[in-house]
């Protein structure tokens, strides 16, 4: 395909920013390289060692990615935990301890008030030396809002000054990058540093966002940076994307403590091409990352996630009805959230709102903090809220949600029967309902702001609250009406039938599935969180129901919707193209356009080519034998032409504007006293893909998807007729789906 006899000019074979890579070329380059190494390895011991280390380098890279991602996740977890509590007070024993760790060794913790200890001072205690009274409450309120605003301001300023690419979730852009797009700097070291630091600040400021999506971005940055140490991955964009898929799996693995779920997430949501070899390597990277995080032990007791669930109480078949109800709720909420969030983001993109990102962040933070402080369930961090909602109430739990009336004599083997709710539970229900409304509304405005923001934790929180409310309702219904037909068969008095914690978990899975439209990966992540297979059926029922309901209301998940909003050239791999158009309906030039710009194989001068390049913006040109015959020779890329001509003018003797450029093997016969010719055969792609003009577009779209093409030439009776680029295909699909074809940006 390419001529490797000459030394390649540096820069040839690389890509411009915001362009798509040529998958076929990259893959064939890698095969050539591998073949060369294997052939050479038979010659000397050094070459043999080189070939072994080349094969081993992939695994070493995965190990390094896992270590780095795990360490960064540990740093983020510990710092976020500390900074969240910094809004409420500080530890006198050592300022680096958060509330829980400050009171860890204290002897003064009482049974009734398990949160207070003298080592932990709230801000009102530090400023006005008392914690009681209205003035202390106001001081605490004021300091809470002040800290929240400070953190948010620091986050948005750092993003704006150092790395504007660090904002947002990152997953839509990573999806696009993995499908072959180039965004330079998106996975660079400054983006990594700023994303890590500002993620902690954003999470600590009390905003309704999570850190799972940004952790995937952080892990992919680690993967990209570490690729630069290995020649095999640095020079080849296709191999690098395999590594990025594995890094994305490691990112989800440390976010949820779910290695298998991480690999499946990478397979289902993020990656475009996922060869089988990548599956095993991703698993290795995810495991190493999870192991590293476990060693750092951010949450104590070797747990990887704050809301790890430890109960195993059984569920009954009749409970599938409320689980499916939760699935429907999740689907409805998902569709609503996607529609409103996209509308708000579009407003941000097109109107004046987008010109004041710092002010927007500060206003949203102020509103969130002011509304969140009075209610204890919004004041605590969202991960802690989820952890409390997933918790199954034991006899000795002191939280308000577990304030049941204990009207029984004995407890059999640690299992508590269903109990009537006490006063605490009723007031907790009211507060949770208000929390639900606040979270549903504020997350719409938070996701997509110019700070790192994720979406998993807020959706899980919404679902968990809805689930817990339903679960407590069911529990009380079963207690007070245990003689009804539905409860009679399986829920006798004094038995432990209903576990509200399970309902919360199923609700969380349903809402997350409704927003992201994940299927297998969601169920696997949730069951890895619970550590058991008992709850697979309820989780699957809820996830499937929520996906069906959400799909009925809106076609795309949140990440695909954001890809479409931004106009990235992402060719959706999951949908079928069902229209009967032909290749000649889509190809350029259209009927009234000027003819296709081609280069001839040996009759154009350097000046002609330079004129064509400066007058047009096409990213490549077909090369034909002659303008009359229009018989195809190959395809040459614009960037390679520019670099080669520039290089030739500097380095080769005698090349001037009237020199002839030839793409053939041997120079054309030239009369004497003409300037020397310029051979550019080594940048010519001698096997471009062609289809005939009557090929159905179904097949053309399939070819683009499966092979990852950038452009495809169209011939008629053997003569070159036109060209179809990926952008044309995307515009055509958009047109067929009645969307605005002009929204597809980029080349």
């Amino acid at each position: 395909m390419m001529d490797f006899l000459e030394e390649p000019i540096p820069g040839v074979g690389t890509y411009d920013d915001f362009n798509t890579i040529d998958w076929v070329r990259e893959k064939s380059r890698d095969r050539d390289r591998h073949r060369e190494i294997t052939n050479k390895s038979k010659e000397s011991t050094w070459a043999l060692i080189h070939s072994v280390s080349d094969a081993f380098s992939g695994w070493l890279l995965m190990l390094l990615i896992g270590l780095l991602s795990g360490s960064l996740a540990g740093l983020i977890d510990i710092s976020a935990h500390w900074m969240t509590d910094l809004k409420e007070g500080i530890c006198t024993e050592g300022f680096w301890f958060n509330h829980e760790h400050c009171c860890w060794n204290s002897d003064h913790v009482t049974f009734e008030d398990r949160d207070k200890c003298p080592e932990w001072n709230s801000w009102s205690q530090l400023i006005i030396s008392t914690d009681e009274g209205a003035f202390a409450y106001i001081v605490n309120y004021f300091m809470y809002v002040l800290w929240a605003l400070l953190f948010a301001f620091l986050a948005v300023s750092l993003v704006k000054v150092f790395a504007p690419y660090a904002c947002g979730s990152g997953i839509p852009e990573i999806k696009t990058i993995l499908s072959g797009f180039i965004i330079r700097g998106y996975l660079g070291k400054w983006t990594l540093i700023i994303k890590t630091i500002t993620l902690v600040l954003a999470v600590s400021s009390g905003l309704s966002l999570g850190k799972e999506g940004p952790l995937v971005h952080v892990a992919c940055c680690c993967g990209n940076i570490l690729c630069h140490c290995f020649n095999k991955y640095r020079k080849n964009e296709a191999k690098r994307r395999e590594v990025l898929s594995a890094a994305a799996a490691a990112g989800v693995s440390v976010a949820f403590g779910a290695p298998i779920g991480g690999v499946l997430f990478s397979l289902e949501e993020v990656s475009y091409y996922f060869p089988l070899k990548t599956l095993w390597r991703s698993f290795f990277a995810a495991l190493v990352a999870a192991f590293t995080l476990r060693s750092i032990n951010p949450f104590g007791n070797s747990r990887l996630v704050l809301f790890y669930v430890e109960f195993h109480t059984p569920w009954h078949l009749w409970e599938l009805v409320p689980f499916i109800l939760l699935g429907i709720f999740g689907g409805l909420w998902g569709a609503l959230f996607i529609r409103t969030n996209i509308a708000w983001c579009r407003k941000r993109k097109t109107t004046q709102l987008g010109k004041y990102p710092v002010v927007e962040v500060l206003v949203v933070t102020a509103i969130t903090a002011i509304l969140a402080f009075p209610n204890e369930y919004t004041r605590m961090s969202t991960s802690e809220l989820i952890s409390e909602l997933f918790n199954d109430c034991g006899l000795l739990d002191s939280s308000k949600l577990c304030d049941y009336e204990n009207r029984f004599n004995t407890s059999k083997g640690g299992e508590l029967p269903d109990r009537p709710a006490g006063v605490g539970v009723y007031s907790a229900m009211w507060q949770l309902a208000l929390t639900l409304i606040l979270k549903i509304v504020i997350t719409i405005f938070t996701f997509g702001m110019k700070i790192p923001s994720g979406l998993f934790i807020p959706s899980m929180a919404v679902g968990a609250i809805a689930g817990r409310l339903l679960g407590v309702g069911m529990e009380q219904l079963a207690y007070y009406h245990h003689d009804w037909a539905i409860f009679n068969s399986w829920c006798s008095q004094g038995a432990d039938c209903i576990t509200p914690g399970l309902y919360a978990m199923v609700g969380a899975a349903a809402c997350l599935g409704g927003v992201t439209r994940m299927t297998v990966s969601l169920v696997v992540i949730m069951f890895e969180l619970t550590g058991g297979l008992e709850y697979i059926v309820p989780l699957m029922a809820a996830a499937m129901t929520s996906k069906w309901v959400a799909d009925a209301l809106g076609r795309e998940g949140i990440y695909d919707a954001h890809i479409r909003l931004n106009g990235y050239p992402f060719l959706e791999a999951k949908e079928e193209f069902a229209h009967k158009t032909l290749a000649m309906d889509v190809m350029k030039p259209r009927r009234n356009d000027p003819l296709l710009t081609v280069l001839t194989q040996d009759s154009m001068t350097v000046e002609d080519v330079e004129t064509i390049i400066s007058e047009t913006t096409y990213s490549g040109f077909p090369v034909v034998v002659s303008r009359e015959s229009q018989r195809l020779v190959g395809f040459v890329l614009r960037r390679d032409l520019i670099i080669s001509i520039e290089n030739a003018r500097k380095k080769q003797d005698g090349v001037v504007s009237t020199s002839i450029i030839y793409f053939t093997e041997h120079s054309p016969p030239m009369p004497p006293y003409t300037p020397p010719t310029l051979k550019l055969r080594n940048i010519l792609d001698l096997s471009p893909f062609t289809v005939t003009d009557l090929t159905p577009m179904e097949i053309v779209v399939d070819i683009f998807r499966k092979l990852g093409l950038r452009q495809c030439l169209v011939t008629h009776n053997g003569r070159l007729l036109g060209i179809i680029t990926k952008k044309d295909v995307l515009k055509h699909i958009a047109q067929m789906a009645n969307q605005d074809p002009d929204s597809i940006l980029f080349n």
Binding site: P10, L64, L67, S71, L75, I78, S79, W82, G94, W96, F97, H101, N105, V109, F111, E112, L154, L158, K160, V161, F162, A163, P164, Y165, G168, E173, R184, G185, W190, I193, I194, I197, L226, H228, C229, F230, N231, T292, S295, I296, N297, G300, N301, R346, R348, K349, G354, L395, L396, G448, K450, N566, S614, T617, R638, I642, I645, E646, K650, L745
Partner: protein, 198 residues
């Protein structure tokens, strides 16, 4: 020459990254080995029983001794009541690493502090300095769109990067200027034109 430099740089960065990874693991092992006596505890929660109110007991004790009899001290009930009292108590063994927490928070705060200082320098101090030293030549002038208006100028850029630079200070300044241009481009795409990451 440049390729040799590049090779050395890459080898150096690979070695330093491996060292970083190993040191992280070592730190983790160290914090495991030099386990602070106060970093393990057994926490027993005992509910109210007869006349005694509920109480929480903490003791820095190993995992095999983590039960009611070792931890609840002084025992509030006598004789046969002890067993009934202890049956109601829930004892859990927990451990943490305060060294890890301290080191992590200090690392994070120092990186944050450095970044804030650099940000203040870039936004406030540097323009003042530049205004004072007016007339000092700047390496890269062009401020407008580095698009494809001059395709051959961009090619010159690509080729120039592959050649080595003689002066180290020049190289640092050149790298910083290039980084600033990149960030400016990114800022334009994200904040002004709303083309990426809307």
């Amino acid at each position: 020459m440049a390729t040799l430099w590049g090779g050395f740089l890459r080898l150096g960065s690979l070695l330093s990254l491996s060292c970083l990874a190993l040191s992280v693991l070592l730190l983790v092992q160290l914090s495991d080995a030099a386990k602070n006596f106060e970093d393990v505890r057994c926490k027993c929660i005992c509910p109210p029983y007869k006349d005694n109110s509920g109480h929480i007991y903490n003791k820095n004790i190993s995992q095999k001794d983590c039960d009611c009899l070792h931890v609840v001290d002084p025992m509030p009930v006598r004789g046969p009541d002890v067993e009934a009292y202890c049956l109601r108590c829930e004892c859990k063994y927990e451990e943490r690493s305060s060294v890890t927490i301290k080191v992590t928070i200090i690392i994070y705060l120092s990186i944050l502090g450095l970044l804030l200082l650099y940000m203040v320098y870039l936004t406030l101090v540097e323009p003042i300095l530049k205004r004072r030293l007016f007339g000092h030549s700047q390496l890269i002038q062009s401020d407008d769109d580095v698009g494809d208006h001059q395709p051959f100028a961009n090619a010159h850029d690509v080729l120039a990067r592959s050649r080595g630079r003689a002066n180290v200070l020049n190289k640092v300044e050149y790298a910083q200027q290039r980084w600033k241009l990149q960030v400016q481009e990114q800022r334009k795409s994200v904040f002004d034109r709303h083309v990426v990451l809307s």
